[in-house]
């Protein structure tokens, strides 16, 4: 029977990684996610499951260790926070280009630059629209509870391997640091090389045996004709992910006149805003994207015909709101409310913003 434990988001995620049968974690400390590597070092998963944990000399080294181990077909993860993800973006682009599955966690803090160590959501663009160079996509999952921090580890690995693509958990400092009740998953066994090949195919650098051609992991092709074919393949894969893997949650949207769109910590705040609004007779709902990429465009497009407006609530200057605008296609008003620099909005100020931006203008 599953047992409920009180845990920090960062620690729940680390424990979930061990239990997901991860083969390796490579990381570099940065606030507010250092508990991930601290927890793993303390737990000594090498003894529990054989999982490797290594503190690298930099985020650059850590992501390239993920590249090397991930290209061996192993379940490998790293975690960092905003400035560290900027450093890792080179490696992330290489992994997307080389089609290496892996899990990257960003426990976001406010930026730009060194910014602050308080929570933020200003890496939405970086996570969903690039960050690194080239035409690539990450599968981006946004947890809004400690339970989801734990659950999304195994889900990310599954998606990453299904599509041979890096996956990202885009969390924030609030969810990483808060303690909450969590049901941890059962311990899974780490996969043997034979099992990896059976499940996912024989693409990884496992050592060239006589029965196959050599496996090469590279993002390079100097012939533009072939590089374009590779790019077309990537885009077809992304299209398939968009069709199959879009995830979101609706709260009180069925009768809503105004829909807030929010993820992560902002989505938690909006649940309280729904309650406050409905007490005043305002029919509010929340559409919470669970996958930020692929973005849940269709339900938003569908609601655009029915509602009086959307409010994008984010801890940034307005990033996801651009995707909402694209989904709404001008059929309803779309506004944004956000705090920046590590500030977290109160539910009452969000409600006030919604009334001012959407209702008094109507």
């Amino acid at each position: 029977m599953k047992e409920a434990i009180l845990m920090k988001g960062n620690e729940a995620m680390a424990e979930a990684a061990i239990r997901a049968g991860a083969d390796a974690y490579f990381g570099y400390p940065i606030t507010p996610q250092s508990e991930v590597i601290e927890y793993l070092m303390h737990e000594e998963p090498q003894k529990r499951t054989g999982m490797v944990v290594l503190q690298a000399e930099s985020e650059l080294a850590a992501i390239n260790m993920v590249y090397g181990a991930g290209a061996c077909g192993k379940r490998v993860m790293t975690s960092s926070s905003s400035p560290g993800i900027s450093l890792k973006s080179e490696g992330i682009s290489y992994m997307a280009g080389s089609e290496i599955p892996c899990l990257i966690v960003n426990v976001m803090r406010g930026g730009p630059g060194l910014g602050t160590i308080q929570p933020g959501q200003s890496d939405y663009f970086q996570a969903t629209k690039g960050g690194g160079h080239g035409d690539y996509r990450l599968i981006v999952l946004a947890p809004s509870t400690v339970q989801e921090m734990a659950d999304f580890v195994d889900l990310s690995f599954k998606l990453a391997f299904k599509y041979r693509n890096p996956a990202m958990i885009l969390s924030d400092g609030a969810i990483g640091q808060m303690m909450e009740k969590v049901y941890l998953p059962e311990q899974k066994e780490r996969l043997s090389n034979e099992k990896i090949i059976e499940l996912y195919g024989d693409w990884a650098t496992t050592g060239k045996t006589a029965n196959r051609e050599r496996n090469i992991i590279t993002s390079l092709d100097l012939k533009p004709e072939r590089q374009e074919i590779h790019n077309i393949h990537l885009q077809e894969k992304y299209k398939m992910i968009e069709e199959n893997e879009t995830r979101y949650e609706e709260i009180r949207c069925e009768d809503a006149e105004y829909i807030m769109v929010a993820f992560g910590t902002s989505a938690r705040l909006c649940q309280k805003v729904i309650q406050l609004g409905r007490e005043k007779g305002l029919k509010l709902g929340l559409l919470r994207p669970i996958t930020l990429w692929p973005f849940p465009k269709k339900p938003i497009t569908d609601y655009a015909e029915k509602v009086k407006g959307f409010l994008s609530v984010e801890m940034n200057a307005g990033q996801m709101v651009e995707d909402i605008l694209l989904a709404v296609e001008g059929k309803a008003p779309v506004e944004h409310y956000g705090r920046m620099g590590g500030m977290i909005a109160s539910p009452s100020e969000i409600l006030q913003a919604l009334e001012e931006k959407l209702i008094s203008n109507n």
Binding site: L60, A61, N215
Partner: protein
């Protein structure tokens, strides 16, 4: 007493093969300039892997630079790393496959400029890998710019009046630097521009792979090589220049064993 003189055709028919290309080098044209040392370095590396019988358990990491396409030529599983990150990539491979043989093949810009941190820290952790470091004192692939190992006074496209150490710094002896780290089991500087050096360099590479087999720590083989295109010399002149200029500053031999 005399024997009838054999023609070359008869020798080929009756004699034994004393040298042929290793099966671990693919039958594709090498992308390197005529006379470039990369070809010899590739060959002796793959000969060692073949002679030790470890090709099924060897994973190589190619760099960014002229040898970025090394994986096209070596008939083993390989990964291509971002510029300078090969030692981190090799660390990732070795940590999940401790029983495999892992090597990086890197140039001077890759290993001693952009990848300095990854080089030093992989060596400092004593990662049980082999690092093959080709030092030709120049950035070949991008067209002959100054490298961290460009000699004082040496011309390149970004030091057109010669490297001025007052403003451009000194050529870096990174093999000596990492040799002082306790994680490094073996650090040596070799060359491949003459047959006698080729033989020694191959022995050094063999020793490095044996170290990896015996879990002794990091082995780094620097190979002082040429870049006749970048140096704007003929292949023969470039090797002469190497012999007369490079080896004073980068003396050959074991630095730590």
């Amino acid at each position: 007493m005399t024997t009838s003189v054999l023609t070359p055709e008869e020798i080929i028919k009756k004699g034994k093969v004393v040298f042929k290309k290793t099966k671990l080098i693919n039958d594709v044209p090498l992308s390197y300039c005529p006379g470039c040392g990369h070809g010899v370095a590739h060959r002796i590396l793959m000969e060692v892997v073949e002679e030790m019988g470890i090709w099924e358990d060897t994973i190589g990491v190619a760099p960014v630079g002229c040898s970025v396409l090394a994986y096209d030529f070596m008939n083993i599983d390989m990964q291509q790393a971002a510029h300078g990150r090969a030692p981190a990539v090799a660390t990732g491979i070795k940590r999940v496959y401790p029983e495999k043989y892992v090597f990086t093949y890197q140039g001077d810009g890759d290993l001693a400029a952009i990848g300095t941190a990854e080089t030093i820290h992989a060596c400092n952790r004593g990662e049980n890998i082999v690092i093959i470091f080709i030092n030709n004192g120049i950035y070949g692939m991008t067209g002959g710019q100054m490298a961290p190992t460009t000699l004082e006074g040496m011309r390149s496209s970004t030091s057109p009046y010669g490297r001025m150490v007052q403003t451009m710094g000194y050529p870096i002896k990174i093999t000596e630097m990492v040799a002082m780290l306790p994680g490094v089991a073996y650090a040596t500087r070799q060359a491949v521009h003459e047959a006698k050096y080729v033989r020694k360099a191959k022995n050094a590479i063999k020793k490095a792979f044996e170290n990896q087999r015996d879990k002794k720590g990091t082995s780094i083989i620097e190979i002082v090589s040429n870049c006749n295109s970048g140096w704007k010399l003929s292949p023969v002149e470039a090797n002469k220049w190497l012999d007369e200029n490079m080896l004073d500053y980068f003396p050959l031999g074991d630095i730590k064993k």
